[in-house]
């Protein structure tokens, strides 16, 4: 038994938009935002001329992927930037010449088997474009039964995945086919809420591919929910999709993979939904990685009123940006600007034990207990109620009539549990 999350107003204002390439920004800052970025090596230095698709840094040992110039121009230096997560990382700053000259070294990779395929995926610079930003080649390195393509995009406003499925169908299908063939994955399920026309036909090119119409609830696109909805399998504890024989791939991720294998041009730009009550023209914009968020809003006609809140991501799980200088990251599928009314933070009051959080938690957690147990630093209770399994989707806080900050409490509880586990392990 499991709960079925919540129903949300979709606000899919940009669903009929065509992706528009924005003017080349004057400057991009490409952060080394990946895990292990502290072991990065810069391949360029201040003053170097770079072209689009030229590698500018390698990041991390082990799971890292290369980082590429997203504009042609001159390297202005290496700066530190703060990301929405709060992390401060190095970034390669490039002043654009506006010409977008492709790098001469661009050529399609030679792929023969899984090993060379995975290396190509690594070289493509592709990370999970649905929001996680986890290196795709690491995820694909598993033997599984199901390849699940996530096209559900259940956050309000967000449309980048739907539009990829509609406008870049061939790329998505090709990407899925490549992953399926090299990974020798027997079954493919494409999970979508509202399949664009012609999708069924297009996926017939892949034998055994099945389109699954997902139920209309949030967070049906969360990995665990999606696997449950498409295969009926439940990921045990904190294990990974591959432990139940599944790989979940975002539609945009699949499309970019296909493009890299065809052209050799790595992930240097992506489509993002630009929307929210303070935005003049809700749009879908293709922008170079590292473009300042402010420039992306400019490309959507700017603001119709003073924005009071800027979000990277959707309204349920998105992160607030404190200013408009933040660079576009690979995993950002949407930017929202909210007016003062939408940005208002409600006053929270005491828990009235109404039980709505318990009724709506998609992970079936006794959500109301987590904050209380965390405040008491009651590790035993936190373990017992499995606070560590919270997926931070925000359903509990959304339905809470007392407007409590439940997600924050859950995040703190999870971090506390992880810290304590580490202490225990080091004993």
């Amino acid at each position: 038994m499991g709960n079925h999350g919540i129903r949300l107003n979709g606000h899919k204002n940009t669903v009929d938009c065509k992706p528009v390439a924005m003017p080349v920004p004057a400057k991009v800052r490409i952060p080394l935002a990946l895990l292990g970025a502290n072991t990065s090596t810069f391949l360029v230095q201040k003053g170097d001329e770079v072209a689009v698709g030229q590698p500018v840094a390698t990041q991390g040992q082990g799971i890292g992927v290369p980082v590429y110039a997203s504009v042609s121009g001159k390297v202005a230096g290496i700066e530190t930037v703060r990301l929405a997560s709060g992390a401060i990382v190095d970034a390669v700053v490039i002043e654009s010449d506006g010409r977008q000259t492709p790098w001469e070294g661009i050529k399609p990779p030679v792929v023969e088997d899984l090993k060379s395929f995975l290396e190509a995926v690594r070289q493509s610079g592709v990370v999970g474009l649905g929001g996680a930003g986890f290196p795709t080649w690491v995820k694909l390195n598993a033997e599984v039964e199901y390849l699940i393509i996530n096209g559900s995009e259940c956050e309000p406003y967000c449309t980048a995945d739907y539009i990829a499925l509609r406008d870049f169908t061939a790329d998505v299908v090709e990407g899925v086919r490549l992953v399926k063939e090299y990974g020798k994955i027997p079954k493919v399920i494409i999970g979508v809420k509202h399949p664009p026309q012609g999708i069924e036909e297009a996926f017939k090119a892949i034998p055994g591919a099945e389109i699954k119409h997902l139920q209309e609830y949030y967070p049906v696109g969360a990995e665990r929910m999606l696997i449950k909805e498409t295969t009926g399998r439940v990921i045990p504890g904190r294990k990974l999709p591959k432990d139940v024989g599944c790989i979940v791939l975002n539609v945009n991720t699949a499309a970019y993979l296909a493009r890299y294998l065809r052209t050799g041009m790595p992930l240097v730009s992506r489509t993002v939904t630009v929307d929210g009550s303070a935005v003049n023209t809700p749009s879908v914009i293709t922008a170079p990685i590292g473009t300042p968020v402010g420039d992306i809003f400019e490309a959507a006609g700017g603001f119709k009123c003073e924005p009071a809140k800027i979000l990277a991501g959707g309204p349920m799980m998105g992160v607030c940006l404190p200013n408009l200088d933040f660079p576009l990251l690979w995993q950002n599928g949407s930017f929202l600007a909210l007016d003062a009314k939408d940005a208002k933070v409600p006053d929270s009051t005491a828990c009235i034990r109404c039980g709505r959080c318990v009724d709506h938690c998609p992970m079936n957690l006794m959500a109301f207990q987590i904050g209380k147990a965390y405040e008491a630093r009651d590790l035993d209770t936190l373990k017992k109620i499995r606070a560590d399994l919270c997926i931070e989707c925000g359903c509990c806080a959304y339905v809470c009539p007392a407007k409590r900050d439940m997600v924050t409490a859950n995040k703190l509880a999870k971090r506390y549990m992880a810290d304590e586990a580490r202490k225990e392990a080091n004993k």
Binding site: I6, R224, G237, K239, M366, F368, A402
Partner: protein, 299 residues
């Protein structure tokens, strides 16, 4: 540019608030208030007014006194006041009614930490305290100036099924009119303020036990405080279980205890005591009926 708001996700919230929920409860209670005025006269409104006024006032004074933020705007004290008045007889001395509100708000609710923290239902606890302290005034039910016992009492007149359904019989202010109580309950279920589990389990259990014990079903269901208790008191968030399974257990428990008291106890009515006893068991029911996390068996 002005400073931007930075706040944790989620950035959208459902419209329902503590206040809107309490307002829904008040709307659900309104038809019964009207019925009580029709049945018992203007004095019914006065009793309710005193209870509500004293409940709000004592919450305000207490919170001011202990320098807590004042929460009377959440309307929960108003709900407590109405509910308490609904389980009082119409000719209760007004000072006793007011005292009941003070007990409900200060002793039962605020001293345990305020809204959501009390382990027992404030209105019911206050009623029980008044019943024990002022037994005579609390169990003298007058209708049209004639004092009589509630239909549950041995030897009392049976007002007939229709009379019972419309509430034209002796009883507490808000317990007699089954029609308006059911309308209120339906409203709360439709508005998703309460779920059906507790009222249905509670009333169903009473019905089944009544049939087994060969009692008059209409008297058992509508002659006492069952409907008021099952729909409005036993569903109190703070003192009832969280999960649907827990709510069913709780409802059945309330039903069994009510019938035990009615059949074997020294008093004709058992709803208040049954709910109060089940309030105490709620933390244990919660523990035993907690949801299991999805995939929660593994590390």
């Amino acid at each position: 540019m002005k400073l931007l708001t930075v706040s944790p996700a989620p950035h959208i919230r459902d419209k329902a608030s503590t206040r809107s929920i309490m307002l829904d409860v008040l709307i659900a209670l309104a038809p019964t208030l009207v019925a009580s005025i029709v049945i018992f006269g203007f004095q019914a409104l006065l009793v309710t007014g005193v209870c509500v006024g004293m409940a709000v006032l004592s919450e305000f004074v207490f919170e001011k006194g202990v320098k807590k933020s004042v929460t009377i705007n959440d309307l929960s004290a108003v709900v407590t006041g109405v509910l308490l008045s609904f389980c009082l007889p119409v000719d209760i001395p007004l000072w006793i009614a007011g005292l009941g509100s003070v007990i409900a708000i200060v002793v039962v609710k605020q001293l345990f930490g305020g809204i959501g923290q009390n382990f027992a239902n404030p209105a019911i606890t206050a009623r029980v305290v008044l019943l024990i302290s002022f037994g005579g005034a609390m169990s003298t039910y007058a209708i049209d100036g004639v004092t009589s016992a509630t239909p549950l009492a041995a030897g009392a007149a049976n007002p007939g099924v229709l009379g019972m359904f419309l509430g034209n019989h002796a009883g507490s202010l808000g317990e007699t009119c089954a029609l308006t109580l059911l309308i209120g309950g339906a409203y709360l279920v439709v508005r998703k303020v309460i779920s059906w589990h507790i009222p249905v389990a509670y009333i169903g259990t009473v019905a089944v036990v009544s049939l087994i014990a060969q009692q008059d079903l209409s008297i058992q269901l509508m002659g006492g405080g069952l409907l008021l208790g099952a729909i409005f008191m036993a569903t109190d968030y703070a003192t009832s279980p969280m999960t649907n399974a827990g709510k069913l257990v709780y409802g059945v428990g309330c039903g069994l205890l009510t019938m035990m008291i009615r059949l074997w106890g020294a008093t004709p009515e058992g709803v208040s005591y049954a709910i109060l006893l089940m309030n105490i068991l709620t933390p244990h029911i919660d523990k035993l009926t907690a949801h299991k996390a999805l995939g929660g068996d593994a590390a």
